[in-house]
Amino acid sequence: MTTRRGIQGFRQGIGALMAACVLLGPGLALGQSAGGGKIPRQANGKPDLSGIWQTTSAADFDLEAHIGRKDAPPGLGVVEGGSIPYTPAALAKKQKNFENRETADPRLKCWTLGTPRGIYYPEPFEILQRPQDVTVVFEFGDTVRTIHTDGTLHPVDTDHEFWLGDSRGHWEGDTLVVDVRDFNDQTWLSRAGDWHDEALHIVERWKLIDANTIDYQATIEDPNVYSKPWNIEVFLYRHREKDFQLIENYCYTLDYDQYYPYPKS
């Protein structure tokens, strides 16, 4: 899937390449990407996704194109084809969610955002990568997601109902392809009330298009909610500020934070 947004982002990424080469640590190997730009690679030759990433898109506010609202900046949308193919009944529920979003969005309780929402939520996350796994640490709620790249399959038991789904990945060329399934129905896909149930199944495609940009694509299906699978694409940009790091954000503790270590008299 190549979009106009993608091409623009790609050009910007190439433009930033010289600076990136200077800024990258000495231990980071640079190799030729399929797209022609240099990307960091691990010792085993696989693209190195390690780093702290964040979207600049308005996807979390609304996955579909939308004008500005009091609670959301405008956005062109990240859904291929423009709209999410809800079934009629599911669309009615989405609209109800939208109406109640100021109180019903699970993010307001700092609950785990889930997959893929955590990826395009407007707060940084860090990728830590080894040959056998890709660990994604989200600043929001301090959630940790493991993408297993050790050749193992989804668990035989399929009723775990994970918040993040069970993620099994493999490399197709320079693209990390991740199959994610076995979800619960507690997460939303955006603050506009986009939803799913336990039948959610996601296939992600993570690809460095230059040293500092990941093209993140996901195919989302849930036959109970959508009439057909649908695709999203967002770009993720590397945080390159000096000494940038995640700052712990166990935001679900804030409601009782005041009582510890002990109430201030």
Binding site: G27, A43, S50, K109, C110, W111, T112, E126, L128, Q129, R130, Q132, D133, T135, V137, G141, D142, T143, V144, R145, T146, H148, D150, G151, T152, L153, H154, P155, V156, D159, H160, E161, F162, W163, L164, D166, N184, Q186, E198, D243, Q245, L246, I247, E248, Y250, Y252, T253, D255, Y256, D257, Y259, Y260, P261, Y262, P263
Partner: protein, 338 residues
Amino acid sequence: MNTTMHRHTHRQMIATISLPALAATLGSLIALAQTPPASTPTAAPRVGGGIGYESHYPQIASGSWTGKRLADGQPDVSGDWSNTIANHNNFTDPQGGIPGDPQARGRTLGPREERAPSRVTDPADGELPYQDWARAKQKEFAVGFFAGGKPEWIEPLARCAPAGIPKSFYWHGYEIRQYPGKILFLFNSGWRLIYLDSKEHHLPQNLKLWQGDSRGHWEGNTLVVDVSNLNGKARLGRTGDFTSENVHVEERYIFSPDNKRYNYVATFTDPTVFTRPFTVTIPARRWSVADKSNGWHYEVPLANNPGGKEPIGDHFERICVENNGGFGQLAVSTNKPN
């Protein structure tokens, strides 16, 4: 919410712990012990059930590292670990149960020396050197843990808050993952990323965090970590023991030559709460796919890895269902304070 989700909750982890599996590991544990002092029996009585199966543990000396290393030169200590003596019921008498526990059901404890020593290894008396006001506060918390009535009497871990330092090291098993210049600890409740050498300075001191800000380096077999920016909100145990937002911790993780055990030895300095610094020692041992998965130390089932391949442990998400369903004594059913 499907009930199957709850298989990952703390309460079920406790309920499903496999005592026979732990007993089976005891023999191998004895073999793993590193040159214990002659007077210290390693075949310890199984005090405290399956969670705490050692009443004594070996000292491990700091020294050189001759074991496996990662590409960046770090000793390779990645994998699964868990403490050997007890959970967080009681900080200074780890196998002594929770004082005032109404569910003790008449169990009587034997002589103190039959149980694991205090986690406080300095001062020598094993007591936390509280200032008078703070000792009174700790006692209030300990009584309130069962009595209830005030929100600060609820142990924050029961609300799914991160276990913090040092409790993370005796709250279920945990995993270490290593990367160039970084070490990631994945605990049952919360995580820590330790930056090695790359960052000299801590976060601004006004940022107070449950897990703090960790800067470390290796000295032979010892990982040395300076922990700043702690908010002091995580309690040390169900005994009400606590620190403040002015606590500073210097940690030493001393790994045994065979890479199968380590001792966590940390000095806590907190002039707001204590009269002097104190040292905490927590023994840990490695768990692997050779062990049977269980609900406390090693929550790692075998991965679906067909075709006669090497067994691999599977690590599932650890989410305290869902930062919303507290557990344990006086837990709340929502994330709102009661």
